[in-house]
Amino acid sequence: MKKKLSVNGVQHTVDVDPSTPLLWVLREQLALTGTKFGCGIAQCGACTVMIDGVPIRSCVLPLASLEGRQVMTIEGLAPSDEKLHPLQQAWIEHQVPQCGYCQSGQLMSAAALLARNPEPTDAEIDGAMQGNICRCGMYGRIRKAIKSAATSRIAQSELHTFDKTDEASDE
């Protein structure tokens, strides 16, 4: 069954069983492999994407529920090809990733947090990031990077939200 799906501002039409979780549609139909699989039951956060600005575990979200909604994945987090999101910059500055596998999900959770709360407290950061496991244990660096991105001036002015949808299609 054909379904429309808007990802990172691009409209796609996909032909797949509508019970398929978004995670697998992103990875297999759209080859957007930045979003990762870690548990499949909304326990680890590796598959976190933003839907209409809210962080969602894409491994348990059926394609059928996405009509008319805007999905943002890690591939769409940077505002442009030349420019990183302030969180991505902070991630590099604090040398956050170890293996890196959890980091797409971590960044999407953090981006959603800063979008709604530009100056989170430690407790608010802990709360927002509690659904994201990092088996490499980089929590201290993640917390520091979120705080430094939040305080950087760029962060205040450029926190990324969707304001436009390009009517492009992959068909």
């Binding site: 297999e28 979003t35 040398q95 293996c99 596998y101 980089m138 660096r141």
Partner: protein, 745 residues
């Protein structure tokens, strides 16, 4: 030896210390086939396999270790660049492909000969023997904290220095000046007197024709400009924008997806399958049974149990298909085994003390125990643990015309290649293995079981197959950190001095020194009993150190308390002959303000362990109120000899501590009915951000032989926490995980 060829080189076993030997020198017109893929461009000259310099003067370090996330590749590049005097801004890394010419003899030497300190000039025959050994073992391992300490020290640095030396001689010849008048800086050759300066690239080809020095002079610590600097890691930018390619991200034309299930009871097999419902699931292409096999790669033989796979258009369909299968398993006789029965067996075997094997025996301990004032007894135990790498096991393979191509993230590419070739009954030359980034390894990815599954599927299906294990399969079909029961007895005299230390535990694995203690005790008796069980075991971050450090560093604390002494001061008094240990211990205590009073309900504990050539002490602070606990702070000190990449070492220690704390707080694989009870992160928990303490890491550069960083942070975490909990509550927890007794908030 102006006619320096690979043959001559191997048969003569030329060469002091590393790089060039493995790497094989290549020159224009003499390209060894199996190394040709290292030289990608027309303009490149492979000086030898650890380093290449291209026309644009870019220095590429060819690194024989997979990147698990330790930043090892960057550290290795630093070591090479330092000795080469390379321009760091123009240094790149590349992982070596698993080809036979790259068989990793430097690792083989480190692994097989432990901490053997090799002189600069090594007896050629010894080198030759090692070369053959490691070739036949198919070594190319990431693990055992091996990269910096072995590859870096004996390979990269030597390679860098030898290359620089050859470049200098090439320039001297061209410029007709004495070689010792030539200096090097930022990938430039300079002759000051005649004001000449040229990039390395200009002389790369000429240098490749030089005979390499067998023992190039290495820099002294105080000459370092790149080693020891906190340089940004090469691998990080791709890990913040989703472009880093893990095995799971491989996409091939016509690729199908598969997922598998093995017998829940280890060693069991399929009695019957009804796949009618599974085949009816939309998108399912087929159901394949993968027969059982044995594999015998580097870290020991292991069995790969019979499995059933569902192949489908996508992972979702494959997973639904797998769930729809009706399978009856034959447990093969282990259906009644449980964690309780396993520990009852351990208990019985230790008490019977039959065939006890001695690890270390010194002094007249029997006499001491017979006459001692005070004897302290304790039993400690740890459960089985899974690895739960963030990236569940997966791999992609294609089999065509007798050739197999596989994409996988693994800790031993050459070993995997051989295992796959054996499984398919083809020669290793007919397997191309692409080692991808690994979403965690921790020891799990040194066993090739899932690689064997995927190539079997690719051959059966006739299309490229991506096999993805569910997290449930990943947790239930691991090679587990072994459960251990460890029994202690210590004797102290009337003034509290430790007189005798006795320890018996079950199932000795690697590394052999893990149960030994650094403390000065006249009478020691350490030994073990074999008590085999059906649960498969594997290396788990720091291997046996993580269990034994929990035992020994908790028990020494108990002894200190029984002696009425401060645990820090007691340890220090027993370390007079171990100045490095003592310095690490005391620095940790100082940085953690040991001795400063803590509020009611709070406690502090310390632990110390040497593993993989590094010494680490950790001080943990904990709060326990009404059965609710929080780990507040960890102060860690490491002496890794010298930290090549200090921020990398710090990150590794942080990572190792969180890994160790996860095990200490929550880690437990329970066996019931011969199989694993836990299934996913809801019942096999990982430490999350809110439970993670503040971690402060300090590095002591003692200048001793290089030690590891990836593993040594893990062992002290659990005992330091246990000792802190005792300090806070007076309750001695002798069993992991602590969540059995306390709730962690």
């Amino acid at each position: 030896m102006s006619n320096w060829t690979r043959r001559a080189f191997v048969s003569v076993g030329v060469l002091a210390g590393g790089g060039i030997l493995v790497g094989v020198a290549m020159r224009p017109g003499n390209r060894a086939d199996n190394l040709a893929e290292l030289v990608a461009g027309e303009n490149e000259t492979l000086v030898h396999a650890f380093v290449k310099i291209d026309q644009d003067n870019i220095v590429t370090a060819v690194v024989p270790h997979a990147e698990m996330g330790q930043g090892a590749q960057t550290a290795l590049a630093q070591m090479l660049a330092e000795e080469l005097d390379a321009d760091w801004d123009r240094v790149r890394v590349e992982e070596a492909p698993p080809v036979a010419g790259y068989a990793h003899y430097t690792v083989g030497r480190g692994y097989l000969f432990k901490d053997l300190n090799l002189p600069d000039i090594v007896v050629p025959s010894f080198e030759g023997v090692m070369m053959r050994l490691s070739n036949s073992l198919d070594l190319q391992v990431t693990g055992g904290s091996m990269s910096v300490r072995v590859t870096g020290t004996y390979g990269m640095r030597v390679a860098g220095a030898a290359t620089r030396d050859m470049l200098k001689r090439a320039a001297a010849k061209a410029w007709q000046v004495p070689v010792d008048e030539i200096t090097t800086e930022k990938s430039m050759l300079i002759h000051g007197a005649t004001s000449r300066a040229e990039p390395y690239a200009v002389f790369a080809a000429a240098a490749a024709g030089m005979t390499p020095s067998y023992s190039p002079k290495l820099k002294q610590l105080e000459e370092y400009k790149i080693i020891g600097q906190p340089v940004p890691r090469f691998d990080i930018p791709a890990k913040v924008d989703g472009t880093a390619k893990f095995a799971l991200d491989v996409r091939l034309p016509g690729m199908v997806y598969a997922t598998v299930k093995r017998s829940p009871v280890f060693g069991g097999r399929i009695a019957s399958i009804d796949d009618t419902a599974a085949r009816a699931v939309e998108g399912v292409l087929g159901v394949v049974v993968i027969s059982a096999s044995e594999s015998d790669t580097f870290i020991g033989a292991f069995a790969v149990g019979e499995a059933v796979a569902v192949v489908a258009e996508g992972y979702w369909a494959a997973q639904r298909g797998l769930r729809a299968l009706e399978i009856e398993w034959d447990g093969g006789g282990n259906e009644t085994v449980s964690s309780n029965s396993i520990f009852a067996q351990f208990e019985q075997d230790i008490s019977a003390a039959k065939d006890r094997k001695i690890d270390l025996e010194q002094g007249d301990f029997e006499a001491v125990f017979a006459s001692s004032q005070k004897v302290i007894n304790a039993d400690y135990r740890v459960p089985h643990l899974a690895h739960t790498c963030m990236e569940p096991l997966n791999a992609t393979a294609e089999f065509r015309d007798g050739h197999c191509e596989i994409w996988i993230g693994c800790q031993n590419p050459l070993g995997f290649r051989r295992a796959v070739a054996d499984a398919l009954g083809i020669r290793a030359d007919n397997v191309t293995l692409h080692n991808m980034l690994m979403g965690g390894g921790f020891g799990r990815k040194s066993r090739a079981d899932w690689a064997i599954q995927v190539v079997h599927l690719a051959k059966t299906v006739g299309r490229p197959v991506q096999l993805i294990w569910s997290r449930e399969e990943d947790i239930r079909q691991d090679f587990y950190r072994p459960a251990i029961l460890s029994r202690f007895r210590a004797a102290i005299d009337e003034s509290g001095e430790l007189e005798a230390w006795q320890n018996t535990y079950v199932n000795k694995l690697e590394p052999t020194e893990a149960p030994l203690i650094p403390y000065d005790v006249a009478a020691k008796d350490i030994g073990h009993i074999d008590s085999p069980i059906h649960v498969p075991w594997g290396a788990w971050r720091s291997v046996d150190h993580s269990q034994h450090c929990f035992f020994t560093e908790s028990f020494i604390d108990e002894v200190a308390v029984a002696a009425g002494r401060d645990p820090l001061e007691y340890r220090a008094s027993l370390l007079k002959d171990h100045p490095r240990h003592l310095a690490v211990l005391q620095k940790a205590a100082r940085e953690a303000e040991w001795g400063q009073p803590l509020a009611q309900g709070r406690g502090r504990g310390i632990a110390l362990q040497e593993s993989f050539g590094s010494i680490v002490a950790e001080v943990v602070e904990v709060t326990v109120v009404d059965g609710q606990a929080s780990v507040d702070r960890v102060v860690a000190v490491i002496d890794p000899g010298f930290a090549v990449a200090p921020d990398g070492v710090t990150a590794q220690i942080e990572s190792g501590i969180v890994y160790g704390l996860t095990a200490a707080l929550y880690g437990e694989i329970t066996i019931e009915n011969g199989s694993v009870v836990q299934s996913n992160f809801h019942d096999y928990e990982a430490l999350r951000m809110a439970q993670t303490p503040q971690i402060e890491t300090f590095i002591i550069n003692s200048g001793h032989a290089a030690g590891g960083a990836g593993e040594p942070g893990t062992p002290p975490a659990a005992p330091a926490l246990a000792n802190a909990i005792f300090d806070a509550t007076g309750q001695r927890l002798r069993e992991l995980p602590f969540s059995k007794h306390l709730q962690f908030i």
